[in-house]
């Protein structure tokens, strides 16, 4: 067999072995066997000297081509094997992608605070500022300056908690924040005041502590129709575009005219159910035009300015929204309750 045939045979053998190699180690031994310093190809080339220059050139060229071919082939195989090895490695370390995650769980929002913030943001978006006041409030701000004199039957509407601090009570509503705002700012005034309030009352629909949001807009030219406009925006934002709204004249000492606002029952859509006591309507907030006596108390000229005020109970809205049937659940803080509210804001 001449050298050319030998090289060709060597190539065939090498290719066969490369193909057969099952891992990098085997492949490497093939490389050493054929292409190494003491490899088979080198061995053949050592006999090159015996040949004529012509033949030498021919054989040399062939040997080089074969070398390159084999190297290329080994490289290819190497990549293949690496890929394979990696795939195996990955497979070996596979994850059950359905295992529970080990990151922290996101926390839950409290439905009342969530509802309160959402409502406040609706008014903030309309341009109202957020105001605040203390929960231990001056009796004068909670009652007298809101046109609720001592011994007025309206004080019966709100059963008050008295404290060991003369002249102060736990505020029974957020309305005193109106007084604070009007005593510290000159009109125009536009505020919403969210906060905790207290009344001596406890049953499935009443809690001795609950949350209210108060709103007040005082400026020249503010009318009852403006009040209706602002509340309509709020109610539609909160309960949906087509929610029926009804204004019923009512009485609050600090507004005149006063109204209760009802919305169409969100549970039965007006056909009558237990939630709306078969009336088809739900009482949702109280409102009215600021009473001139209140303006007098804070030194605003009623002949020049008018204003409207409204107040709403946050728990009621939260309970409607999430169909919660007992107000006490809101303040028990049983995590089995709270965890139901992870997805809300």
């Amino acid at each position: 067999m001449n050298l050319i045939d030998q090289i060709k045979a060597l190539k065939e053998e090498a290719l066969r072995l490369i193909d057969k190699a099952v891992d990098l180690e085997k492949l490497n031994s093939v490389r050493v066997e054929f292409l190494g310093k003491k490899g088979k190809l080198k061995a053949i080339l050592k006999t090159l000297g015996k040949l004529s220059p012509e033949e030498r050139k021919q054989v040399g060229q062939l040997a080089n081509t074969v070398k390159e071919e084999l190297e290329e082939r080994i490289k290819q195989k190497e990549e293949e094997l690496k890929k394979q090895a990696l795939a195996e490695e990955l497979k070996k370390n596979k994850v059950d992608i359905t295992l529970p995650h080990s990151w922290i769980e996101v926390g839950s929002a409290h439905p009342v605070i969530s509802t309160m913030f959402e409502i406040v943001e609706t008014f903030v978006a309309m341009g109202f500022s957020v105001a605040q006041g203390p929960e231990v409030e001056k009796e004068a701000y909670n009652f007298d300056m809101l046109n609720i004199p001592p011994d007025h039957p309206a004080r019966d509407m709100q059963d008050t908690f008295f404290i060991n601090k003369e002249g102060y009570v736990l505020r029974t509503h957020t309305s005193p924040v109106q007084i604070r705002a009007m005593l510290t700012q000159k009109p125009p005034i536009s505020i919403v005041a969210p906060g905790r309030v207290y009344r001596k009352d406890a049953d499935p629909t009443h809690s001795p502590m609950f949350h209210q949001i108060e709103g007040l807009l005082v400026d020249e030219g503010i009318t009852f129709r403006d009040l209706k406009g602002i509340l309509k925006i709020f109610l539609e934002t909160t309960f949906g575009k087509d929610i029926p709204i009804r204004f019923r004249p009512s009485y609050f000492p600090f507004t005149e005219p006063s109204a209760e606002v009802d919305i169409g029952c969100t549970v039965c859509k007006g056909s009558g159910c237990r939630v709306c006591k078969d009336t088809g309507w739900l009482e949702i907030l109280g409102c009215g035009m600021v009473d001139p006596n209140v303006f007098d108390a804070v030194g605003i000229d009623w002949e020049r300015y008018t204003g409207f005020a409204f107040g709403l109970g946050v728990e009621r809205i939260a309970m409607l929204k999430y169909q919660i049937n007992d107000i006490r659940l809101l303040f028990d803080n049983n995590m089995k309750f709270n965890h139901q509210f992870k997805g809300i804001r």
């Binding site: 996101v106 926390g107 203390p134 403006d226 004249p249």
Partner: protein
Amino acid sequence: MKVPYSWLKEFVDIQVSPQEVADRLNETGIEAVAYPFGERIENIVVGKILSVGKHPERDKLLVCKVSDGEREYQIITGATNVFPNGKVVLAKEGAVIQGKTIKPVKFGSLQSEGMLLSLEELGIGEDAEGILILPDEVKEGEDPNKLLGLGEDWIIEIEITPNRGDALSVKGLAREVGAVFGLKKRDKKPSVEIPQDDSIKIQVLTDKAYRYRGVIIQGVEIKPSPFDIQLKLIKAGQKPINNVVDITNYILLEEGQPLHAFDLDKIEGEVVVREAKEGEKVITLDGEERSLKQGDIVIADSKKVIAIAGIIGADNTKVDSNTRNILLEGAVFDNIQVRKTAKRLGITTESSYRFERGVDIQNLPNAQDRAVELILQTATGKATGYKDIYTKPYIPKEITLREKTTKRVLGIDIPKEEAKELLERLEIPTEITEGGTVSKIPAFRSLDLEREIDLVEEVGRLKGLNKLSETYPKIPTQAFRKSDEFNFDRRTRDFFKDIGFDEVVSYTFVDEEIYSILGLPVPPIRIKNYLLKIQSIMRDNLAVSLIKTLQYNLRFQNRDLKIFEISSTFFEDYEEIRLGLLATGKINRGFDFTKGETQYSTTQNWDFLKIKGAVESYLKMLGLDGVKYTQIDLPYINPYEGAKVSVNGVEVGYVGRIHPEKAEMLEIPKDTYIAELKLRCVGRTLNNQECGSDYLFNLWKNKDTVVFQELPKFPAVKRSLAFEVDEDLQVDKLLEAVKNFSPKIEAVELFDIYYLDENRKSVAVSVLFRDKEKSLSDEEVNQLVEQLVKDLQNRFNLKLRT
């Protein structure tokens, strides 16, 4: 108040359905519902009791023989007010009473063939005491459905707002209904003639009785009222008693005028309306002994108090079956005084309820004489005279209503002609003037209608507030203030929610006990008239509430808790809004697959550094640096695993682990961690002067804005150094000393601590050196390290470990 529709119709010709009346009343300001009076019941009949005997075996039951005119029934009853010849409603076999079908039932050896019905069982009253006794003139065999009008008449039940005392009567409601529907109300005028007799011994010694009118009626015969009067009272939800008492109640309901009948023969000497003496005692009609105070108004004779004015009569002059002569009182008392006294005594009567809300002083004689007329008709007798003490007759107040005011408040034009028409529908005499109207306010609205705005409301509500179209005001931009506090609270809330804490809302009032367990002084603000003793202290920290929440959850096997609350704590002069955190048990759940073939559960538990991390990340989120932790001294926090937290020298809260002793007493896990941060302060003065500025909100609001720093141009060199130091050296101090040593030290990072022996530990840090102007050479860094170590050795008992 329950107003039978048929009674209302005596005053106003209303043709629409009761439901429509109720709907329209709701729309114009009086809450009303309409429902049928009872429901037709089959198989009931008027029965006459023939005999009453004892049950031979059951001593609480009676055996009655009852005839319905056709046959006799044996009825066993537990009622005690049955008597021979009494007329009753008999439910026979097949009648459905409160959902149950009547069948013959055996009580012991005797069979009961039906049931005698009470008002409650008839579905028309709440009084289940005793069965309904019908008047004698009713014949056995008659149909009780027809007799009582079951399912035929309607009840309109109204609830008034405190300003609408004028609507608290059939007549008053008729006036309102008339106004709403544009109908004229009818009045009932008495035709009785009573001579004025100023010799009647009545004196008024207080200015809180605005009018006092007494009528003497002699020779009355006390007996049950005629059936039609009884039935009206039943429909209105009242219990008939006897003719005289029933008629005072009847007039109260119909005219809104409370009346009181005294047994004249029990009055000793002169009747005086006066202030009570301090501590004066009286037994009232309900059998209670009442103690009076100065300021209370009483009716008294020469010897005793005979009534608490406007509230309740005394037992000592009560009308009973032997009464022959009566003094019928009609009066108007000061509404505020009646309210004060009634509230203090804890009594609400139909009478006090009306006096508190205002009674029509002009209508008094009319109402009282109607009562006299009815008494004379039903109890015979003779009205021998009246005395009317009315020193300051009512003068109607004149109120001007300007067209422009209506426009300014309601946003619509109501021409003065229309305003006049609307007000006159309410029986308010009104004249047109320049630019508006002038009204003379009748007494029945005198408490409610005092100002122009009150008339705006009247025209507005009759016009229908619901019908006004909406307008959209410009929200005044000059009033717009940044709502920083709200935004701050919102960011805080979002942060803790997003890092896995559950938001809770707890009661701000707690019990004293938890304070004593925690070893804390009781806070300053307490509720005097608390509902529950355990809800009587206004908390001054959030830990008490968070611990309570934990205890509550442990009862439901919720052992892994990470909760937060942003809420108020209460101090003598101000309130602090705080953030409270409580964490215990597992911090997360899940699996780790990197540890070879086994996949481990990797839940981590809370520890001090984790809760501290939550606090510190929050402060970072707010952009606050300069956080320091120092020795804590709180009785419920483990002093070796807790710290006070301060930001730039301002103490803002604490973080730590519950003291194990307290954990045991509270029965909560020992690995409970609590943190509290003072967010902001709400003062009780208008300018919050009592608050100071040591709060996170203030620090946040006043912090420096971020200013961009040039990025480094030259490479940094990192060196790891290990120091041997005293065991009790706080690492923070060492790190700070390293960091502050040279401006060329960019960062220091702790990577290892281990304890060499009881007294010494090794602290390894990596230090990043960088010069802003050039690349640092190895030599320069070596030199810096050398100087650094020297400096540290001057400060601490420190050795560099090699």
